[in-house]
Symmetry: C2
Subunit: 127 residues, 2 copies
């Protein structure tokens, strides 16, 4: 199965411009072209794009995704390093979730006690 850039965009959740941008900066390999010179994405290309969006969604900077992509390009010899990167990234995602959850608690508290809290703010007698 192959996909036009519009289809690839729709299925990956990235914009057409972003797809071309990712290609330009070496985050994705240039896909095949059809007879008219247009990009033709394979299922493998799509799989990689979807995985990239996971990394991006979890806050991995593009420079690191690029590093990962380059290692991947160099084949099985770099598998250990890549696994290590995912390991570290997983840790940072877990930290991020914990951080959000702790902020969420503050938010919960603030919403629950909104009247009192804002009252003390207004009166200027915050503890």
């Amino acid at each position: 199965m192959t996909y036009s850039i519009a289809q690839a965009a729709e299925r990956s959740g990235l914009s057409i411009d972003t797809l071309r941008y990712y290609e330009r900066i070496g985050l994705v390999d240039p896909p095949a072209r059809d007879s008219g010179g247009r990009r033709s994405y394979s299922d493998d290309d799509l799989g990689w794009l979807v995985f990239l969006t996971r990394l991006r969604t979890t806050g991995m900077p593009i420079r690191m995704m690029r590093e990962y992509a380059q290692l991947r390009h160099r084949g099985a010899a770099t598998a250990g390093r890549r696994k290590q990167m995912l390991f570290e990234h997983r840790a940072s995602v877990r930290e991020r979730i914990a951080e959000l959850q702790s902020c969420l608690e503050v938010l919960e508290y603030k919403i629950t006690h909104y009247e009192q809290i804002e009252h003390t703010f207004i009166e200027g007698v915050t503890a």
Copy 2:
């Protein structure tokens, strides 16, 4: 208790430049000044700064924090609107956590099955 800008920075986790920047864009009220014209932050100022960092950490855009700050400035009459904002923000934080957790699962899976997965990638027989 009052704090110099350096102390306020340390306690809020923001940089000195960011404190001045937040003041400039109307996110925090200009704090008092000491005899030499230097900023002198109160405990209330600090409380607000810390709360702002929670909003920022949870991804609230500055433009929205500013809106919140302006409502707060207008006093008790806007309490309902502010509470509503926090409500909606809480929902978006929950969504974000859910999203991260779902990506985390993909990451877990990928790490666990790393050898096989990368092998299939290399062979180009991804399902």
